[in-house]
Symmetry: none
């Protein structure tokens, strides 16, 4: 148990060093030596714990997804009503943790890697579907027809990704709070318009 804990803590530290290194050098130029330096250990040690560069990167990507899921889970559990749940989903994607430049860089790297790894792309699919169904459920709970809820969910998901991508590319320019505000307005707009259409 203490050993196990030790090993897990080490892996975690290496994963965080990987995230920091990806931000500093980019995945393309990233070397194990970079990560080792960042973690303050010898390069061999990372191999000892993670096996290979590939496995380190996989662990890193899984870590990103896991963190996001934890935040989402936590915020959803505290949301009192459907509308709050929709807002919780939005906020989870723009947490200060999620918007840390290192994390943002790592996610982009994740997307690049996912294109070459079935297991990563699979994880991404699962996450994507879950987000879509969470959003759809949130909209559907507002007396919105399912088809309409699906489209609203789809555009909301796309907006989340779009704002996030802008944050990646135009670092510093994007204001998380602004993004969240626009997104919440979009959600409200979808709901209002649906109910308006419904009445008419």
């Amino acid at each position: 148990m203490p050993k196990m804990g030790q090993a897990a803590a080490r892996k975690r530290a290496f994963v965080e060093a990987a995230i920091a290194s990806i931000h500093k050098k980019g995945i393309v130029a990233l070397t194990m030596a970079d990560v080792a330096r960042e973690a303050g250990v010898s390069a061999g040690l990372i191999h000892h714990y993670l096996g290979s560069k590939d496995q380190l990167l996989h662990a890193t990507m899984r870590h990103l997804l896991h963190e996001l899921q934890q935040i989402l889970k936590h915020r959803l559990s505290r949301a009192k009503n459907p509308h709050k749940r929709l807002e919780a989903i939005i906020e989870s994607n723009f947490t200060s943790e999620q918007m840390r430049p290192e994390v943002v860089s790592a996610w982009l790297a994740f997307y690049v890697q996912a294109q070459r790894s079935d297991s990563l792309s699979h994880l991404l699919h699962i996450y994507s579907r879950r987000l879509q169904s969470n959003l759809t459920a949130g909209f559907a709970a507002h007396d919105m027809p399912l088809a309409r809820a699906r489209i609203a969910a789809e555009s909301t998901a796309a907006l989340i990704d779009g704002f996030w991508l802008k944050a990646v590319l135009v670092e510093g320019v994007m204001n998380h709070k602004h993004a969240v505000k626009v997104l919440k307005r979009h959600v409200a707009q979808q709901i209002e318009e649906a109910s308006a259409t419904g009445i008419a």
Copy 2:
């Protein structure tokens, strides 16, 4: 001119080989030998024309942006009214050329590279600002207050990127026509709502 034309044609061919190779192997694993094989020439020749791997990648990224700008310019010039101009902007981003898997992969690689290259990130900024101002102008022409037009432009740009990113990650799932339809509806919604609010 004939020599120049020859050289330009060569460079162009190498850039296209680079795009294809990025799709096949990913930027992370991409080698000059891959590109050379794809182009059917020796690796040395690419150096002869492009100078270095870095320069080849830069040329490739500039090519992507240039192509998109050409399409946009062409479609905008044919759009008869402000609304058509907004639709032209949307359509330009989901051309069958833009949605070619190779091109999509290359754009993602572009984004990754841009984070490490001032010149690339500068190009991206310029393009982003131009897109934003084009969209804003389109909305403003619909009797929308400037502030409102800016927000509509911003969310529209984010939706474009968001749908595009989904296309990258969930290859095959995203239907270009569907994306275009949802985007056009979004644009219409923004305009309608603005006029409704304006009256009230």
Copy 3:
């Protein structure tokens, strides 16, 4: 064609460098850098031509077997009668080329490697069976019953290997000519005794 010849000559040179290096450092400690130094080229070049250390060693082992087979073939083609053929087989195994210390060391390395490689052990089996059948045929041609010829062949083959192994281990002590002499006597003895027994 000239390219092909060049490449073949290079490979050949690297194989010979490998043989020399095995003698100098032993297979256990052998590095690609050793072989490269011996060949007077960079380590990368050997990879360029041979692909990997493993493939270099395989090529080396195949070379050894091929050389021996060539010598054997040549000498057998010149042997006028069954007895000469038996002697040719013996002599082929103790050629000055075969007894070069480098070659001897490489053969021992071959034996060690063969235990871990199906393809090498397969080559060795084939060679071993061919030797056995050649010897058996040689003895059978002396009016020896087949069963007897087989045993004579077997002990002759074992003697060849035994003398060769002594040469490996007690380098310098073994005199090739002496080995050949004893072996020829052994062959003669087998034939005589068989005919004696046959008469009795």
Copy 4:
């Protein structure tokens, strides 16, 4: 003594683990971790008892030689007459212990290592000379002239090695009993022929 006994037992266990590991992975690829795993201990412990990989291998080789010498000594002490002594020498080399695949692999590794280690090659020389003189004495006791006895001893030793080598290379094919039978016949043949020649 009890501590000494403990330490000795440990070393012995590690030597046996080394023999087993050499068979499983080959000397070329053998690592201390392999041996440690085989012995069910940590790699550090082997260093603690043996000092280094080199010393472990040396101890292993000495062990092989020692075992063979013990068997030989034991069997010779039970042999009642010169002829039985010759047979005892032969049998000692084809004991079921000596023919265990692990032991056979280890001997071949021994031969390879001996080429690079003066102390190992020295041990081998001593053993080889002792075998030769034992065999010579055995033949000489049959009223054979010394020169003749030496040649008979030499060929007998070579046959032993040759059959053993076949066992190494064509694992499973060689039948120990058959080898012993052929060897005994060879010995008998040498003696008979010498006496026949002597009389004539």
